[in-house]
Amino acid sequence: MSADGVSVVPEPAIRTRGLTKRYGGLVAVDHLDLEVRPGEIFGLLGQNGAGKTTTILMLLGLTEPTAGEVRVVGLDPARRPLDVKRRVGFLPDSVGFYGTLSGRQNLRYTARLNGLRRDEAEPRIDEVLALVGLTDRADDRAETYSRGMVQRLGIADALVKRPDVLILDEPTTAIDPLGVVEVLDLLRALAHEHGLAILLSSHLLNQVQSTCDRIGVFAAGRLVGSGTVEELAASFGLPLDDIEVVVGVPAAEAPAVEVAIRTVPGVTDVVAEHGARDDRAWIVRVEAGRDVGTMIRAIVQAVGERPLIRVGRRRVELDAIYRQAFARTDAGRREEVAA
C-alpha cells in the first residue's frame, strides 16, 4: 500500500496556509494553518457551524477558497484535481448511495471511476466490505440499508481506491457503539500500520480523544488550539498534574480526610467531587514543579489506614478543554459585540 512511499521525515499529506472562506459577510473559515502527516490521525473538533465541513470541502476542491493555499499530497487540488482525488478517499457528511444499485454495485462504480481493473477491483471490494462488516448485505439494494449501514458503506467507498489520505466528515454518525469501536480500530490500523494520513471531523469528544493523535479545536472558523490532548490542556492553562483521590469513607468522616490531604506539603488546593455510593472523591492541586509520584506517595500516607479506593494523576479530559476553548471564544465574541 502506501507505507513504502513514506520517506523518513514524511512531508505533510495535508497542509493549508492562511486558508480562508467567506460566504458574503460570514467568515466560515478564517486563516487556517493545518498540517496532517502520513501515519497520523488528526481530529477536527468544533461546534455546529464552526467551519469543519467547509474546511474539508476546500481540501477536496469541492468549494473554492476565498484566500490561502491548500496542498494535498503535495498538490494543489484546484490545479491538479484528478491527481489529488485519485489518492484521497472522502466520506462526506450525510453520504448517500444509488438506491436501486446494491452496495457492491455502488462500490464497483467508484472502483471504475478510479480506473481499477475488474480483476483488481473485485477482491478489493470484498476486502473493504469485510472491513466495515457489510459482507452479508453487500448484494441488497442500497435503499434497504439502515442509516448506520449506509455510513459503513461510505467508509468502504472511501477505501476502495486504496487512498493515501482519508478525509472523513463525521465518520461515526449513526453507527452503533460496538460498530464505532470497530470503525475507530480500523482507522487506527490504517494510519499506524499502513501509513495513511487521516483527517476526521467529529463532535464526539471521547471518540476523538481515544482515536486522534492530534486534535485541532475549531471555533467560529478559527483554529483556537491544536496538538495532543496534553498540549491542548497546557495551552488552555488546564493543570496537567492534578491528582484524583477516592477514599471509601462515610460523609461524616470526609472533612477529616480533606484536612489530612490539605496538610501535605506542596498541595495548594483540595476540591471535593462527587464520589460513587459511599466513596468520597477529591481533586488535589499541587504546586507547579512538584514531582507527581512523590506527591501521590505523600497523599497515600496522609490518608493512612482509611480504605483508599483510587489515587492517581487525573486524566486530562477533552471536554474540559472543549469547554475552556468555547468559554473563551464566547467571551471574545461578547467583547467584539461590546466594542
Binding site: 465541513t53 468549494t63 503535495g74 491527481d83 482525488k85 485519485r86 489518492r87 448517500g96 462504480y109 478510479n114
Partner: protein
C-alpha cells in the same frame, strides 16, 4: 513537492464510465418504459390508420415523389393527429427534459454527488456523461421506432425506400438528434441551477407548455396574416407583415425544427416557410412544382439547423459553467 507525483496513467475516461452507468440506469427505469410506449404507440398507431391514405395516394403520385417518406410526412387522414415528424417535434422536448431534469439535483439530494465529484473525474465529465446517456436512450428508441415504421412500410404497404429517401431519413434523424439534444441540455441546465428536482421538472414542463401554446397562437396568427397577403394594398405592406410574423415564429424552437423536418422529409418543399421578400413572393407564385435534391433541401434549412445547434451549445455551456462554480455540499 517532487516526492509526491501521482501514480502513472490508466485513469478511465470519466464521461464514458458515467455515461455507461447512467445509460444502464435509464434502461432499467420506469421512464424508459414510458418513452418506449409513448414514442412507439403514438408514432405507429396513426401510421396504421394512415396506411390506407398512403396506399391511395401512392398510385396517383409518380414514382419521383418520395412516397416512402410519406410514411413519416403524411398526416393521417380523418384523424386529428400530426404526422410522425410533427409528433416527434412535440414530444421530443418532453422526453429530453424527462431524461435530464433530475440529473444533477437528485444526486445532490441523495448525497451521491459529493462522492461522485470526489472521484478522479472532471466535473464536466459528469454533465457530459449524463447528457450522452440520455441522448443514447432517447435515440435508441427513436431509431427503433423509425425502423419499425420502415419495416411496416416495406412489409405491409410494399413501399421500398429509394436510396435518396434513406439519405433523407438519416438527415431527419440527425436533425432530430439535435432537437433532442437541445432539450436534454436545457433539462440539464435546470437540474444544475434548480436545487430541487420537482422544481426543475415543473420548470421544464412549463417552458415546453408555454412554447407549445405560444407556437399554436403563432400558427393562428400566421395563417391570418398569410391570407391577406394576396389581397394586401401593396406588396410591400404584405411582405412587411409577413417578415414580422416570420421573425416571431423563428423565435420558437419548435417552429425551427418543424420547418427543417418538413423540408428534409419532403423533396417537394422548395421554401422553408412563407416568402419573405417581394422577389421571393413573385417567384413563389410563378413556381412550377419541382423536386429538390437532398443537398438543396439541406441548404434551405441550414439556418434553422445552425440556430438549433447554437441554442443547444448555449444551454450546455451554461450548465457547464454553473456546475463548475457550484459548491458541492452534501
Amino acid at each position: 513537492m517532487s516526492a509526491t507525483t501521482a501514480p502513472a496513467g490508466r485513469l478511465p475516461v470519466g464521461w464514458a464510465v458515467i455515461a455507461g452507468k447512467e445509460f444502464a440506469d435509464h434502461l432499467r427505469s420506469l421512464r424508459f418504459l414510458i418513452l418506449v410506449v409513448v414514442l412507439g404507440a403514438a408514432a405507429i398507431v396513426p401510421l396504421y390508420f394512415a396506411a390506407d391514405a398512403i396506399r391511395a395516394s401512392a398510385s396517383q403520385v409518380s414514382g419521383a415523389k418520395a412516397i416512402f417518406l410519406a410514411l413519416l410526412d403524411l398526416p393521417p387522414r380523418g384523424l386529428s393527429v400530426p404526422p410522425v415528424y410533427g409528433f416527434v417535434g412535440i414530444v421530443a422536448p418532453l422526453l429530453g427534459v424527462a431524461f435530464s431534469f433530475d440529473a444533477v439535483n437528485a444526486e445532490r439530494a441523495d448525497g451521491t454527488l459529493a462522492r461522485l465529484v470526489a472521484q478522479p473525474v472532471h466535473r464536466d465529465d459528469v454533465i457530459t456523461g449524463k447528457f450522452l446517456a440520455g441522448l443514447a436512450a432517447i435515440m435508441l428508441v427513436l431509431v427503433s421506432v423509425v425502423l419499425v415504421i420502415a419495416g411496416f412500410g416495406i412489409a405491409r404497404l410494399g413501399i421500398v425506400p429509394a436510396q435518396g429517401e434513406i439519405e433523407r431519413l438519416v438527415a431527419w434523424l440527425a436533425l432530430t438528434f439535435v432537437w433532442v439534444s437541445l432539450w436534454l441540455a436545457f433539462g440539464l441546465l435546470l437540474s444544475v441551477v434548480l436545487r430541487r428536482a420537482a422544481t426543475a421538472g415543473l420548470a421544464g414542463f412549463g417552458v415546453w407548455l408555454l412554447l407549445q401554446i405560444f407556437g399554436q397562437l403563432l400558427v393562428g396568427l400566421v395563417t391570418q396574416v398569410v391570407a391577406p397577403v394576396a389581397t394586401a394594398a401593396t406588396e410591400q405592406q404584405a411582405v412587411a407583415l409577413q417578415n414580422l410574423s416570420d421573425m416571431i415564429t423563428r423565435a420558437v424552437p419548435l417552429t425551427l425544427y418543424q420547418e427543417a423536418a418538413r423540408v428534409i422529409l419532403d423533396p417537394g418543399q422548395t421554401a422553408v416557410s412563407t416568402p419573405a421578400t417581394v422577389g421571393q413572393l413573385q417567384q413563389y407564385q410563378q413556381q412550377i412544382p419541382t423536386l429538390l435534391s437532398l443537398q438543396q433541401s439541406l441548404l434551405l434549412v441550414w439556418p434553422q439547423v445552425v440556430i438549433l445547434v447554437a441554442m443547444t451549445a448555449v444551454c450546455f455551456a451554461l450548465a457547464y459553467v454553473a456546475f463548475m462554480r457550484q459548491e458541492i455540499r452534501a
